[in-house]
Structure formats: C-alpha cells, structure tokens
Amino acid sequence: MILTSPEPIELTLTNQWLWEIIDEFVYQFQSFSQFRRSPKLNSEELAYIKDHHYIWSVLSVLNVLHSLIDKSNINQQLKAYFTGENAENVAGEFGRSPLYKMLGYFSLIALLRVHSMLGDYHLAVKVLENIDLHKNTMYCNVPACQVTTYYYVGFAYVMMRRYADAIRTYTNSLLYVQRMRQMFQTKSYQNDQVNKQTEQMYTMLAVCLVLHPQSIDESINNVLQDRKYADRIVRMQAGDTKEFENCFLFACPKFLSPVPSSLEGAAPEHEPLQIQKTIFLQEVQQQIYLPTVRSFLKLYTTMPLEKLAGFMELNEATLMECLLCFKHKMHNIVWSKGVSSLEGDFQAGSEVDFYIDKRMIHIADTKVGRRYGDYFIRQIHQFDELAKGLKSLRF
C-alpha cells in the first residue's frame, strides 16, 4: 500500500523500525531461497515450488526495493546532500516525507545486501554510488544499518581484490562499534546480528592483513593480537589454505542462487557458497608465495637474483615470475577521492617494495617510527583533570 498509494501515507515510524522492516524483508527472501534448495525437501514440496516459482522470486524482491528507491527519489536527494545543496528541492512529493525517504535509503542498503548474496559485488557497491561512505556524516542514525553497510562493502572489496580499501572500511567500522559498544549490550535480534557481524569483520580483516600487510589503528590491532585471531593469522601466514577456508566460511554472507535447485542438478559442490568459496581460494592460492618472498626481502636492501633463487629453492625463471606476480598482486585499485566507493586508481600497496635492475633486486622497506604524541597528550589531559579535582577538594 505504501507503494501504490497516490499520495504519501501519513505515517510516522522510527528509523529503527523502518530499518528492521526492510532487514526482515530481505531475511525472509534469504531464508526462503535457502529453504527451496534444501536437500531435505520431499517431492511434493519440490513440485509445489516448481509450479509456484514466483513466490519470493528474486525479481519481485528487486522490484519492491527499486520501487521504494524510485518513489522517494533517494538517489537525487543523496547527490544534493553530499554536494551541499538543498535535498528538499529534488525530493518530490513522496521523498519529502521522512517515511519514504528513509525507506528509500534502507532499500539501497538492502540492494547492497541482495546483490552481494547473489555474487554481484560490482553492482552491490555501485548502488551506493551516491552515498559517501568516507565522510563521517551520519545520514542515517540506525547503528545496525551502519554496521551492516560496512560489512557488505568490506566483503565486496575483498572479492574485488581491493584489500587496502577493505582494510580501511573494516577498521572504520570496527572503531565505530568500539565507540558505541554500550548500545549493543542489550539482548535483541538486531544486537546479536551486529555482534556477529563484528566478529566476521575482525576475521576478514585478519585475512586481508595476511594478504596485504599494512599498519592499522592501535586499538584494532590489539584486538587482533588476542589469541582467538592471532592463532589463525599465524596459520594463514604459513600458507595453511584450510585456515583461509575456515575464515571465509565463517565470515562470508549467506550466498543465494536466484533459481530453485529443481531447475538444475543439485550437486553439493554447485551450491552458491561453494562456488564463491572456490573462487576466493583460487585467489589465495595465486598469492600463497607472497608472504615468503616478503619475509626474505625484508632482510636485505639489495640482493642478486641468484641469491634469492637459492633461498627459495626455485630456478631463476620461476623466481622472476614470482616477483612479477608479487608486484602485480600488490598493485591494486585504491579509493582516494570522490563520492562513489567504486572509484580509485592503481597504487602500490606493499610496505616492502622492490625493483629489479638487470639482475639485482633493490629493496625498499617502510619503517614506522614509534608514535608518542598521542600518549603524551592523553597523559597531560589526565593530569589536568587530576589537578582540577585536587583543587576542588575541600579539607
């Protein structure tokens, strides 16, 4: 009725409720899609599903979300908002009502989720192209929505091999969760989901840091030193593909297929999850030598090719291919400016970099000096408070 009414409906619901409505809508779609591929269905149920394939069909779900987006003109409103213009001018009759505006916004996030679950990561990030995720302005104030957005965007970046962007997205989101920890303590379905997504993000962050080491915020780093993650990191750095697989299976979203299994042969290795997992592991396999190369390079400033070939027990031609692969994989697209999260240029991402001059490898390392500024400022503030407290004490 919200969509078919000729005039905006006079209804005011809190943003939290609107988010939960949309979230639940996608959840039902997800559950039903998984249900109809379940091997436990009997033939009667399979026949019913085959005859009524329009129930929770992916097209109807997408239609609903797109209609909400179109009706509220949310994309135009977002464009105006982030360029500093008045969003009211482009909102249109429906868009001005907060009900429709927020439903439109949450539908964008829902599209991000649905496309990620179908494996279309490029489109998933593209639907958010008018939302500037890098500015800290909170266009929507529902924390669960923020966390979900960053979770899916981060995951899409990982599958697109934009590890630097994924690391940045995850650390921003995890810092946000740390700050708002109080809000997520009460027991509720939404908070459980936020807590689960937080753990998943830490796991994916660990994976990204193994494949693409770089220095990150101290507080997040401290959490990763915790035994739960540290063990996994050590195993992945040693090249244990099973550990990569475990991390992926824990942290990935629920993948769906848009068609019921009765239309195709339902072999277990054809399940959407297995397909996405295989693609991820292929990518890992291509990069499996990189941590070893990196550890040798860290030890020297120059090294002849033969010497490195000897260390790695490879012949020189294979070593050359390894080094070219290292450079190729460390050179990915990184966002630097612009509203859309898809934008970016190629940048060398590795802290340990090198170039080859004839047969000599010249290595450059990045050393990060100890930071003491923040620590001193914090201590000064604390002493200040202490001094003020002492002065106000009466004896």
Binding site: D70, M159, M160, H270, I279, Y355, D357, K358, I377, D384
Partner: protein, 220 residues
C-alpha cells in the same frame, strides 16, 4: 562497413545505459540487444564492463537463456582488461555446471597463468586455442599492454631477450613499437625502463607533531 557497426554500437550503448539505470536491466526481453552489444565489443575492440556483468546476471536469473559462446567472449574481454580484476567479478556470476564447460575451464586456465605472471607459458598455451581467441579483435595487444604494465612497475632495466620472451616472441620491429609506446630506451641489448630509484625508496615514517595538536594542551 566498419563505420556502420560503430554507429550501431553507439546507438545501442545509449539504450543500454538507460536500462542499466533502472529495473530494465533485469528484463530478459532486453537480452538479445545486450548480446548484440557483446558481439560488437568483440569485433570493434572496445569494452564495457557494466554491460557484460548485466548479461551474466540475466543468465544467472534465467539459466534457460544461457549462451556459452557469449560467456566465453565476455570472459576473454575481461582477461584482456587486466590488471583490473574484471575476470574474478565475472567468475562470481557464473552458475554451477557453467564453470565445468570445457571452453570456460580452458579460459580460466589461461587467466590463471596471466595472474601468476607466467607469461612464457601463457603465450605457448594460447597458441593452442586459436579458434577460440582469434575472434577477439586486439586480444594479443591488450595482453601485451598488461605485460608492459607489470614490467613497468617491476624493472629499472632488463635484457632485450627476456623482454621479447615476455611479450610472446615479438619481432624486432614490433618490439620497437612497444618500446616507443611505453617510453623505453635501448642500450646495447639492455632495455632501460624507467628510473625506479625515485619511486621506490626506503621510507621512515616518523610522527609529525604539529603546533595545532599541542596547542590543545597548552595553557588556554
């Protein structure tokens, strides 16, 4: 009639861009136009990632309309766009069974060789698949462009013979044209790529404490 195909491509592109902006991208009735667009990309040597992903998505939603030849072309065009990760994005949209198609297995194998930078093996293997790849105009040149990109970021100078191998046993004349395109110079059998010393230097990141950060704690 090259120019008319180009014009056709331009017209279709406008129509497709309109569809991609709304739900028409999920309409299977638009599929023949999308497929024609892929054909034109192959023959006229241009590339449109979004349109290709839209085709794969339509095949995902409507598996009975799947056409293996179109998918092979899309995958080969994606490989030609390396170092972008378009090929991985395309793989994620393929359904079960489709990944087992022999041609697609072969294409995946070639893509793997390129991602691992095993260029010599790639050129050797690619010659076995001429009928599949020869339809893509400009495929070899796109791959050579990728090889030059990787060489550019890795080397300061290297032997001419190694470079010729990496580019797939090109003739001296072809090598000269690639060197001109990339701005490389030759010096007695060694090719000088670029001065990497300025780009790749040891960095010491020390903390910069500016007056602004400290002014906060100074006497207000």
């Amino acid at each position: 009639m090259v120019s008319s195909r180009r014009e056709e491509a331009e017209t279709i592109r406008t129509e497709i861009n309109e569809w991609l902006a709304n739900v028409e991208r999920y309409n299977f009735k638009n599929l023949p136009v999308f497929e024609r667009y892929v054909e034109l990309q192959v023959s006229e040597n241009f590339y449109d990632l979004e349109a290709s992903l839209a085709v794969l998505k339509l095949y995902q939603f409507f598996p009975h309309l799947y056409k293996a030849e179109i998918v092979c072309w899309i995958l080969l065009k994606a490989i030609a766009n390396l170092p972008h990760t378009d090929f991985v994005l395309c793989k994620c949209l393929l359904g079960p069974g489709q990944l087992d198609d022999l041609n697609i297995v072969r294409i995946t194998y070639l893509a793997n060789l390129l991602e691992l930078c095993q260029f010599k093996s790639f050129w050797h293997e690619k010659n076995k698949d001429q009928n599949l790849i020869s339809q893509i105009t400009g495929f070899d040149d796109s791959i050579r462009k990728f090889v030059c990109h990787v060489v550019n970021i890795t080397y300061q100078s290297l032997d001419k013979i190694i470079l010729k191998d990496l580019l797939g046993n090109v003739t001296d004349a072809e090598l000269k044209s690639w060197m001109a395109k990339c701005g490389w110079k030759e010096d007695h059998g060694t090719i000088y790529i670029s001065n990497q010393e300025d780009i790749i230097k040891t960095k010491n990141i020390t903390e910069k404490i500016t007056f602004d950060t400290v002014s906060v704690v100074m006497y207000p």
